[in-house]
């Protein structure tokens, strides 16, 4: 699975996710990637999110939207909301994976509960940062 989130100069957020699914999956199985609110979500009011992981768990938890909801209704910060979902809620249901998220202030979060996640970010005017493993 691949994905991207962005905040532009006008203050607009967007998210995108694309996948080939799971190796050896049953034909017709669909995961979270194409489901708005599960594997992909963006709302200028708070956050843009793209997920990668155990699709069924991300669907059952509406992981991407859950982050927006935790920020909007519970007042959590981006870091708090993404940590809650990726490190607490997803593993309880046996899920593994991670996500990338940016809020409407330009804060970034890229948590994952697996050993690694291919990831990168770049602020306009700064050098890009790339990572694979847990720092």
């Amino acid at each position: 699975t691949v994905g991207a989130v962005a905040l532009d100069r006008a203050g607009n957020l967007a998210a995108a996710t694309s996948t080939g699914g799971m190796t050896n999956k049953r034909v017709g199985r669909v995961g979270d990637s194409p489901i708005p609110g599960a594997g992909c979500y963006a709302n200028n009011a708070n956050v843009a999110v793209s997920c990668t992981g155990t699709g069924e768990v991300f669907m059952r938890t509406l992981a991407a939207y859950d982050i927006a909801a935790l920020m909007e209704y519970a007042g959590l910060s981006l870091q708090q909301a993404t940590e809650r979902v990726v490190m607490e809620k997803i593993p309880v249901l046996g899920g593994s994976g991670g996500l990338i998220a940016v809020d409407n202030e330009g804060n970034l979060a890229m948590p994952f509960n697996s050993e690694g996640m291919y990831r990168a970010f770049a602020r306009v005017g700064d050098a890009p940062t790339v990572g694979i493993y847990r720092e």
């Binding site: 992981g53 990168a120 970010f121």
Partner: protein, 178 residues
């Protein structure tokens, strides 16, 4: 402070510790660096977040290292089924496609659904027909296949009896999520 920012991911999973290849690791880092730099440039030029994520994901789909577009994994039956979604935070407009196999860049099909359809999610043949009606070209599903992905399918089918070759990627692609 400049707030404009873009982030990308290429999947998460377990690390192939025993057979990690420095060359393969560098290939992943180079690909991620190139794609994030292009997304950054688009934002720096005043491009929209929607255009930036579309282009970043399109580039990730074109890179055979990642499980989307070219380089997608195989189903049990040895076929490809691709899914994609895009969402615009300004309006909560969203577009998505699922179970397609003849669209080169599923993210562009999802973008077309967002912009040109009253619906949010189209699947299978209907999604492909919609994409072709919206100026996306049909491709042979074999375009998405790579020898590495075929080998991964055989490993899983054979109960992982086969060993990884010496040039394994940093993350264990047999078990990588998403």
């Amino acid at each position: 402070m400049e707030k404009a920012v873009i982030a990308i991911h290429g999947g998460a999973g377990a690390i192939t510790r025993a057979s990690m290849s420095a060359e393969r690791e560098q290939a992943y880092i180079a690909a991620l660096s190139e794609i994030i730099t292009q997304g950054q440039a688009l934002l720096a030029a005043g491009g929209s977040a929607l255009d930036a994520v579309t282009e970043a994901v399109r580039l990730l789909e074109e890179c055979p290292l990642f499980n989307a577009g070219v380089g997608s994994v195989f189903t049990h039956q040895g076929t490809h089924e691709l899914d994609a979604c895009i969402m615009d935070g300004r309006s909560l407009d969203a577009g998505a496609v699922a179970g397609v196999s003849r669209i080169r860049n599923p993210i562009l099909a999802a973008r077309a659904v967002l912009e040109s359809s009253p619906h949010v999610l189209l699947i299978g043949e209907g999604a492909e027909t919609f994409a072709f009606e919206n100026a996306l070209d049909a491709v042979n599903p074999a375009l998405f296949s790579t020898p590495e992905r075929w080998a991964q399918l055989q490993q899983v089918r054979d109960g992982e009896a086969l060993l990884l070759d010496h040039d394994a990627p940093p993350l264990d692609e047999r078990h990588k999520m998403g």
